[in-house]
C-alpha cells in the first residue's frame, strides 16, 4: 500500500520543485518581506505547548489487533490514550481519570522500528506494583524530525470496573469494542502535523449559523450511533436520514448531535441533513448503512499504480460486494463498481472529466503528477486505509 508521508512529500516535491524554480520562490519571498513591516502584525504564530497531537479517537477506525484509544464502554467515548506535544517531546496520558479505571504502569512506544517499553507515573499511588488508579502519564523526548513522522505509535492498557444494571461487576480490559470479548494493547499515534491541525481556530464553533460539517463514523449497521459535527444545533433538530425523518433530536451541545440509525433502515448509502429553527444545513454528509457483523473492505494493492488520465486500474483486496462498490477518490467518487470475485475491482480513473487538457495531455502543466487516494465503500463498510494511484497529466 503506497502512502505519501509529509516528509516524503517535502523531500521529493517541495524542495526539488523550489530549487528548480527559484524565481517563483524569490518573488514569493519578496512579497513576504514587503509584508513584513506591517501586515505581519495581524498574523498568528502557532506556538507549541502541550497541544493535543493524537490521531485515534471516536470515528477513526482502530487498526486490527489493537484496542481503542477511547472508551468504547461509554456513550461519551472519552479518550483513554491521548498525547500532547511540544516541539521535542510528547506526553502520553493513559486513563480518563474516572474512578473505575486502573492503568497498567507500563506501555510501549514505537521508535527505531521497535517497540520500546515506557514507564508511566501518576500522582496516585501504585497498587499491587503494577497499576495506577484513574490515570497515568509519561513524557517521551523526541527529535524535531521524529515529531514530524506519522509513525509515532504508543500503546497503553486500561481496565475498567463495569457493573451492568442488575448484574455483577466485572473488569473489562483493553477493549476494542463494546462487547470487549478480548483484551488488547490500546493504540494511539501522534505527530507534529496533528498538532498543527489542532492549533487551528475552532472554525465550527466560531459560527452561530446552522452548519453541518461531517458525520462519524462513516458506516455502521442499523442501530449504530452517529455523531454529527457542525454548529448552530438546537434543542430540537430534525434529522433527514435518506428517506427517513427523525424529529426532535436534541443536540449534545451547539456543535454536536448524536442519533441512532433506525433499526429497520435498509442497507446502502444515505445522505444526512439537519434542519431546525435556524434553517436548513445546506451541506449534507453521508453514511453507509452496512450489514451487521460484516467485515469492511481491506485494500491490498492497485495495478498499475501510476498512469495517465483514463487509466483502467484493478484494486486487489477483500470484502468487495458483487455490486454497488463505490471508489471514493481524491477527485470525487466512482460509483456502482461490480466485483466478480469479491477480491478485485476494476475501474477507470478520470479526474476532472470536464477538463479536456487533463484528458489529452495538452495541458501546459503536462508532466506534473498527483497522488490519488482511493477508499472503497460498500454495504460491508468503508476501507480503513486507501490505496494510492499517481495520475500523470
Amino acid at each position: 500500500m503506497t502512502r505519501f508521508s509529509p516528509i516524503q512529500y517535502m523531500k521529493s516535491g517541495f524542495a526539488k520543485r523550489m530549487t528548480q524554480n527559484k524565481t517563483v520562490f524569490l518573488v514569493l519571498s519578496s512579497v513576504l518581506v514587503a509584508f513584513g513591516g506591517g501586515a505581519l502584525s495581524g498574523w498568528t504564530h502557532l506556538a507549541y505547548s502541550n497541544v493535543p497531537c493524537f490521531g485515534y479517537r471516536d470515528g477513526v477506525p482502530t487498526p486490527d489487533g489493537y484496542g481503542a484509544a477511547y472508551n468504547v464502554l461509554t456513550t461519551a467515548r472519552e479518550l483513554l490514550v491521548s498525547v500532547t506535544c511540544d516541539k521535542t517531546s510528547a506526553t502520553v496520558t493513559v486513563g480518563s481519570g474516572a474512578e473505575n479505571q486502573l492503568i497498567y504502569r507500563y506501555g510501549y512506544a514505537w521508535r527505531n522500528n521497535a517497540w520500546q517499553r515506557i514507564t508511566l507515573s501518576s500522582t496516585n499511588p501504585l497498587q499491587g506494583n503494577a497499576w495506577y488508579a484513574r490515570s497515568a502519564n509519561a513524557t517521551l523526548s523526541r527529535t524535531v524530525a521524529e515529531m514530524a513522522q506519522e509513525s509515532n505509535y504508543v500503546v497503553g492498557y486500561v481496565c475498567q470496573w463495569v457493573t451492568p444494571t442488575g448484574g455483577t461487576g466485572t473488569w473489562k480490559c483493553g477493549c476494542r469494542d463494546g462487547a470487549c470479548q478480548n483484551s488488547y494493547w490500546q493504540l494511539q499515534y501522534f505527530s507534529k502535523a496533528l498538532a498543527d491541525l489542532n492549533t487551528l481556530p475552532d472554525v465550527l464553533t466560531d459560527s452561530n449559523d446552522l452548519l453541518l460539517a461531517y458525520g462519524a463514523p462513516k458506516y455502521g449497521p442499523p442501530g449504530s450511533t452517529i455523531s454529527l459535527t457542525g454548529s448552530g444545533f438546537t434543542g430540537a433538530n430534525t434529522i433527514t436520514f435518506g428517506s427517513r425523518t427523525i424529529s426532535n433530536v436534541p443536540a449534545v451541545n451547539q456543535g454536536l448531535i448524536r442519533f441512532t440509525v433506525p433499526a429497520d433502515m435498509p442497507l446502502g448509502r444515505v445522505e444526512i441533513g439537519v434542519r431546525n429553527s435556524k434553517g436548513i444545513a445546506e451541506h449534507a454528509t453521508s453514511f453507509m448503512v452496512s450489514k451487521p457483523g460484516a467485515v469492511p473492505p481491506v485494500l491490498q494493492s492497485i495495478a498499475p499504480a501510476r498512469g495517465m488520465h483514463g487509466t483502467e486500474v484493478t484494486i486487489h483486496g477483500t470484502g468487495f460486494t458483487p455490486t454497488g462498490n463505490d471508489a471514493i477518490t481524491t477527485f470525487g467518487p466512482v460509483r456502482n463498481i461490480p466485483s466478480k470475485d469479491g477480491t478485485t475491482l476494476t475501474l477507470t480513473l478520470r479526474p476532472f472529466p470536464d477538463t479536456p487538457s487533463w484528458q489529452d495531455g495538452s495541458s501546459p502543466a503536462h508532466g506534473q503528477s498527483y497522488p490519488m487516494y482511493i477508499y472503497i465503500s460498500n454495504t460491508n463498510g468503508v476501507s480503513d486505509q486507501p490505496v494510492t494511484f499517481t495520475v500523470d497529466i
Binding site: R17, L32, H45, A47, V51, K218, M288, A365, Y370, Y373
Partner: protein
C-alpha cells in the same frame, strides 16, 4: 476540531522568519526548514471545498466556503495533504492553513490567465464523504 492552543502573536519571530526565508531562498536552500518557517505565517481556513485544476501552472484553485472561507492555491509537492486526502473532490469539508501569496494559472482560448489566490496551502485535511 477544537481550538486547543492559545494563539500567540510574535511579530519579531514572524519577521525574523521572513528574513531567514528570504535569505535561504536567495541561496537555493529551500528545504523542510523553510517549510516549517512558513508555518509561522500560517492562516487557517475551513469550509466546503470547490476545486478547479490550474491547467497551466498545475495544482488546484480551491474555493473554500464558510465559516472560514478562503481562495487558496493547492500546489502539488508543496501543499501537504492529510486524511482523508480529498483535496480535489468538491463538496467535502476542508480544514487547513495557508501562507499569503499564490497564483493559479488556467488555460484560456488566448493562452494562460492568472488567478490570484489569497495564498498557498501549507497543510490540509479533509472529511470523507462515502
Amino acid at each position: 476540531m477544537k481550538n486547543i492552543l492559545t494563539h500567540t502573536l510574535i511579530r519579531r519571530g514572524a519577521f525574523l522568519a521572513v528574513l531567514v526565508l528570504a535569505f535561504g531562498s536567495g541561496f537555493g536552500f529551500v528545504t523542510e526548514r523553510a517549510h516549517s518557517q512558513l508555518n509561522l505565517l500560517s492562516i487557517p481556513f475551513g469550509g466546503l471545498n470547490a476545486p478547479i485544476p490550474c491547467t497551466c501552472s498545475g495544482g488546484f484553485l480551491q474555493t473554500i466556503g464558510p465559516p472560514r472561507p478562503a481562495l487558496v492555491y493547492f500546489q502539488a509537492g508543496a501543499s501537504i495533504p492529510y486524511q482523508f486526502f480529498m483535496f480535489g473532490a468538491p463538496g467535502v469539508w476542508t480544514l487547513g492553513t495557508f501562507f499569503p501569496s499564490g497564483v493559479c494559472s488556467v488555460v484560456t482560448p488566448t493562452g494562460c490567465a492568472n488567478i490570484t489566490a489569497e495564498g498557498t496551502v501549507l497543510i490540509e485535511g479533509t472529511s470523507l464523504e462515502v
